[in-house]
Structure formats: C-alpha cells, structure tokens
Symmetry: C2
Subunit: 389 residues, 2 copies
C-alpha cells in the first residue's frame, strides 16, 4: 500500500497494545487514564436520554450543525464566564471528545515542518493527534511547576511556533499543576512573542487540594481552550468542546464539517439535561472524594512497599501519579521484562517524550482501581522490582 508518509514513519502503537493487555484476566492495569466506571451516574444519564427522546427525539436524531447544540454551548460558557473574560456563543464549538479538539486544532494550524511546542513530558494522545500533520515538535524544559519560562523564551527567540500545547492542571502524565506565578510568567512571554497557547483542561475539576488557579484563557487573549465531559461525567458520550476567538471557532467548524459533520446529538442533549436537571456538582464532589482516597492509598502503598526505590509526586488533582524508580534505567524494559510477568501494567515514561528518550519514569493511574486493587498492584510492582538484578 502506498500510504501517506506519516504512516510509514509511525512507531509501534504502544498505547493500543497496552489497552488490550488491560483487559486480560488477573492483570492490574494502572496504564489507562480511565475514570472509575462504577461511579458513572448511569441511572441519571439514562433518565436524561429518556427525556431527550421524549422531548425532542426527532430533532436529536437528525443532522445538525457542526458547532453543536446551542443550549449546551451556552451552559458551558456560563460556567466559564465565571472567569474574568466574557465569551459569547460564537466562541465555542462542541467536539467529539476533546481528542477531536486536538485533532481539529492541529488540522487548521499545522503545515508539514511547522514548529509546535509541548511540555516535557506531555500527553501521548496529543502527539498522536498532531503526528499526521507532520509538525516539528519541540519540548520546552519543565520542572514540578510546569514549563520553565526562561527556557520558553530562549526557544521563542529562535523559533516561530504555531502554538504551545499545555495542560496546566494535574498534567498528563506528571499530575503536576502549573503554579500561579508560572501562569503569569507564561502569558507575559506569550504576549511578547504573540504565541498562541492551546490550553487543555480535562482534569481541572478533579481538584483534591487547594483553590483553583485561573485558566490561562482568563489571563491572555490568544488561548485556544479545550474542555471535556469525559472525566467528570463519561468518556463514552464523546462530548468535549473548544473555546477560542470567533474567527478560530469558524475555522474549526469548517474543519469539523469535513472530519465528522457534527457530534452525536443525543449525547450533547443528554449532557445538557444532566448538567441542568441533575446534580453535577454533587457528582463531582463524589468523584473528588473517591479519587482522593485512591490517590492516598496509592501514595501510602508506594511508601510501604517500595519506599526509597521510588521518587513519587503528590498530585493535587487528576488521575495520575508520576513515579521515578532509581533502581531501574528503563521503565519500558522493566514493564516488558518484569512487571507484566507479575501481572501489573503502567505506561513507561518514554512514550511521553517526543524524542523517545530512555526513561526510568512511569505514569500510574489511580482513578479506576479500588483501594484494595491499588495496594495489590503496588505490591506486584514491588515484587517485580525485587527481581531486577
């Protein structure tokens, strides 16, 4: 087959392989980024779908506009407008999950070889969304507070990137939050160089400690903001959104017409029913409580079973801890040679680096396993580590 050139340059689809292994019996998977299935508000969502069918079923089954269902767009903006910058209905588009938001942004901005910037490390799925457009992806050096402003400025002196992609809240994979000072420094530099920032915020509402920081969108005009109902409601619905200047939303809508015409109308309407008729805030409070407990068990289990071998962060929100294991050199090799044999999996750090560097880090998910399973899984990691020569 004569595929497009990006296909022949593809590396192995490791993420897909991991997700397959996760379904094997007896395997404990810390690899996915899955919300806790048993906490989905299944009965409430069922009610909402029924209401949609009863009240406007024929409309909901018909073709619809690429921009999405207006009442849902308006509701999202109402929440967002609690921030300092006021947005209007022309500034938002509904997407098929925020993964499609990434894909659309890439499609309207990237020509082959265009430079784009990402955090180091960054979300693997974003790299997958960008790759077919063949950008040159540069990693901006980052520490526990997010990307380092001085390093960003050094890059901007030499490069003219199409955008910078960041996840300020409880970042995937590191779980870190960008500090308030860093946010201010970042947008100051961005303004100076007229840099477009793509702000991805799937985890912002899964906050377990401290007050929320302002979104970059509230601090700077030139931001394309991606949001999602996948983590606070359900990923199976595939409802995400992009907020940006009207001009950009228009281009995204035209790209979306070509990509999938519009997103599932029933799901958009059911989400609107849910957020207006059910208790979204109570549901989020429930998630926070459960995930906080799971995070704490994850941290205490690492402390108990692995101790000094592991350097682990304490995420203040989100779904992941990021672990560095001093005893090993390559966490991918450790997964393949040792951890899989103990029936526990995670995502090795290498996959979150654009340069595919060897890494002794790993991304560990704590949201989709019960406290008991978390403890058992960490035991298995400890067991695997004890076998490494």
């Amino acid at each position: 087959m004569r595929y497009a050139s990006w296909i022949s340059e593809l590396k192995e689809s490791f993420l897909g392989e991991i997700l397959k292994t996760a379904s094997y019996e007896d395997v404990i998977s810390f690899a996915g980024g899955l919300p806790a299935q048993e906490l989905f508000p299944k009965d409430d969502l069922k009610d909402c779908f029924n209401q949609v069918f009863e009240e406007d079923g024929f409309m909901a089954l018909q073709y619809a506009e690429a921009l999405g269902y207006d009442p849902l767009r308006a509701w999202i903006l109402e929440q967002i407008n609690a921030g300092s910058k006021t947005k209007t209905l022309e500034d938002i588009i509904i997407t098929t999950g925020s993964q499609q938001g990434l894909s659309l942004v890439a499609q309207i901005f990237i020509d082959p070889s265009d430079v784009i910037l990402v955090e180091s490390p960054t979300y693997l799925g974003a790299l997958q969304a960008f790759q077919s457009y063949k950008p040159t992806i540069l990693m901006v050096p980052s520490d526990q507070d997010g990307i380092i402003p001085e390093d960003l400025e050094e890059i901007l002196k030499k490069q003219n990137p199409k955008f910078l992609y960041v996840i300020p809240n409880y970042q995937n994979p590191t779980g870190r939050i960008m500090s308030l000072q860093r946010r201010k420094d970042l947008v100051e530099i961005a303004a100076k160089y007229n840099l477009v920032i793509v702000e991805d915020n799937p985890y912002g509402l899964l906050r377990y400690e401290d007050e929320a920081y302002p979104n970059l969108m509230d601090l700077y005009d030139n931001v394309i903001y991606l949001g999602s109902f996948s983590k606070i409601l359900s990923p199976g619905l595939r409802v995400g959104y992009v907020i940006a200047k009207k001009e950009i939303i228009n281009q995204l809508a035209r790209a979306k017409e070509g990509m999938d015409l519009f997103s599932n109308s029933l799901a958009q309407r059911a989400v609107f029913k849910y957020v207006t008729c059910k208790s979204i805030n109570e549901h989020i409070a429930k998630l926070r409580k459960a995930y906080t407990a799971r995070r704490d068990v994850m941290l205490s289990s690492f402390e108990k079973y692995i101790g000094d071998w592991a350097k682990i962060n304490r995420p203040k929100g989100g779904l992941f801890v990021w672990v560095k294991i001093e005893k090993i050199k390559d966490s991918k090799e450790f997964l393949e040679q040792w951890a899989q044999k103990e029936k526990v999996i995670f995502v090795p750090g290498t996959f979150f680096y654009v340069d595919g560097r060897i890494s002794n880090e790993m991304r560990i998910n704590f949201s989709c396993s019960s406290p008991e399973v978390i403890e058992e899984g960490v035991k298995r990691i400890a067991q695997a580590l004890s076998k490494v020569k």
Copy 2:
C-alpha cells in the same frame, strides 16, 4: 492568525450557509441530504438506549477501543458476507459517521499533491474531507451510468492516483446508479493498474426499483468500503463503518485514535440492539415506500410546473434528483437572484465539480419534505424561473 495553508485556500463555506437558510421560516429546502425526520424509529431507539443502560450501562459509558463495538462489527459483516467475498472481524472499523471514514481514508493515504480521482460531479462532503490533506483532485468524465472506463484508463496511463472515490449506488448528487457492466469494466481497469477504489455506499439500501447490483467490494479485492446507519436509521447517532483489508483497518484505527479515540459507545450499542431486536428490514421497507412516493411527486411536479425547461433524471433510489435547466446558465446565480426570493433552495451544481465550473444543474432532495411541500417547492422554482429574463 497563521493558519495551515489549506485554510487560506478555502472557498466560502456554502454548504454551511445553505443549511442555515434551511431553518428560516417559510423556506422550502431541497438543499440538504436529510432523511425524513418524522420517520425515525424514535420509540424503538429509545427502547434500545434503555436496554443498553440496563444491560451494560457502565461499560457503555467507559473508554473503548478505536475499532468499535465487536457485536455491531460482527453483525455488519454478517450482512455484507451475503456477498461473495468473506470478511472477518479484523476487516472492519466503526467510524463517527461515514464522513469520518472519508476523513480517515484521506489522512492515511494523502500526502500534499498526491493525485486522487473522483466522479464528475461528486459528493461535496468528500471534497471537504479530502481538502485539508491538499491532494490534486482529478475528475473522471462520467455519464448516466457512472464514470466512463475508457476515460479512466486514459488518466491511469498518465497518473498514479492514491485512490478513486466513487458512489456506485444512487450517487450524490446525480442520483444515478453505476450499471453492472460499468462495475465490471471499472474493476477490470482498476486491477490492471492496481488502483485502490474507495466505495461509498450510504444509499444502497434505499432502492426503489430493480434488483441490487453487487458492490465493487464483491468484485475486487482492493476496495475500501464505507457504510453508514445515517440514511437507514438516524444521522444523529453518528455511526458509520469502513470495511477493508486488515492492514488498512489497522492504519485507520491508529489514525482514529488520534482523531477522536473511539466513537460514541452508547450509540454503537443501541444500533446493535436495534438491528438485532427491532425490525430493521420493515423500517427500511417503510422508508422505501415513503421515499418512492416523494420521488414520484417530485418528478410529476417538475413535469407539471416546469416541463420542457427542465431535464431531470429518474433516480432508482437514494435521496436526490439532478436537474438541468436549459433556460438558465448558472444555477448558483439563479438560486441567489431568484429562487431564494421565492423561498425555495437547493444546491447549485457548481459545488459538486472540483473545478467549480459554472453549471445550470441543481441537486434537489426529495426525502425530507412531504408530498405537499414538494409540489409547493417545485411551483416556487417554476415561479422563479418564469421571472428569469
């Protein structure tokens, strides 16, 4: 904004503008490709969603694999395997409507300037799906039986296209069906030049006369087949599929992971419930009956009110008639200057030609208006025509 180059080369988004006008009060729209809303099996689908929530609601709300819901994939193949070539589960992927199928095929095959071939005229949405990948699109001369094999061969002697895109059944926009002989001639030439054929078949089951011809997929190995539930069930569900060789499906799945991860799981499961527990064949029979009546009213109204001014085909299936009006030179100008004033709209022929040629043709949809509205709409077209100098 520094967009990707394809954005700056975009023409006006006429399709979007048309769909907006269609929602204005008193406007009769023959412009969309919409199924009849009142015929959606709303109550049955409601039952199906309820069953999905009751039986596997938690699973259906969770992340899922890019390839789609296995039982639905298997069911589709069972239907398709009634044809001569046997396919397996590895040969099919579920897509977010078949529009996404087009977009994914474009993404995995097209590098900028690659040649691809289309019928003349062809589906506007396919051109929209392809455009961001910047192919060189060549139109293969076509007549009432589809593309002309000799002309195709002339092109293949000089060009090495990535694929040929065709809609063999009740084509959009012309309503024509590719004859059996043409299908045989086409695949013979395709085999000779090792040409990949992308076969788009959204309308095949909306057959009002004659027996079905074999799909190109049944006549030739090198076919990527796109199907959809949008026209036989509901477009709001966004459930389509692609059938092709395993190797191609694998690449499509990897591209889909980047594009939207996976398609709405509830909708996939509800469609499976529908096709296995409800009466899909009876529903299709009902659609055929209603659409046949609407087509006939469309044809007789043209005969009655417009007569010799119009040259109109008699489609044996699908959603469209294709009309050539000898009295005018440019149907886009006619729409803007005359028809819109009479509150009737359609899609001017020019938009279905890659070269944007001036055309006195128009695509007229007959599926989504009642017989009374169809007659009134054609009267309005006649009224508008009578005013043209």
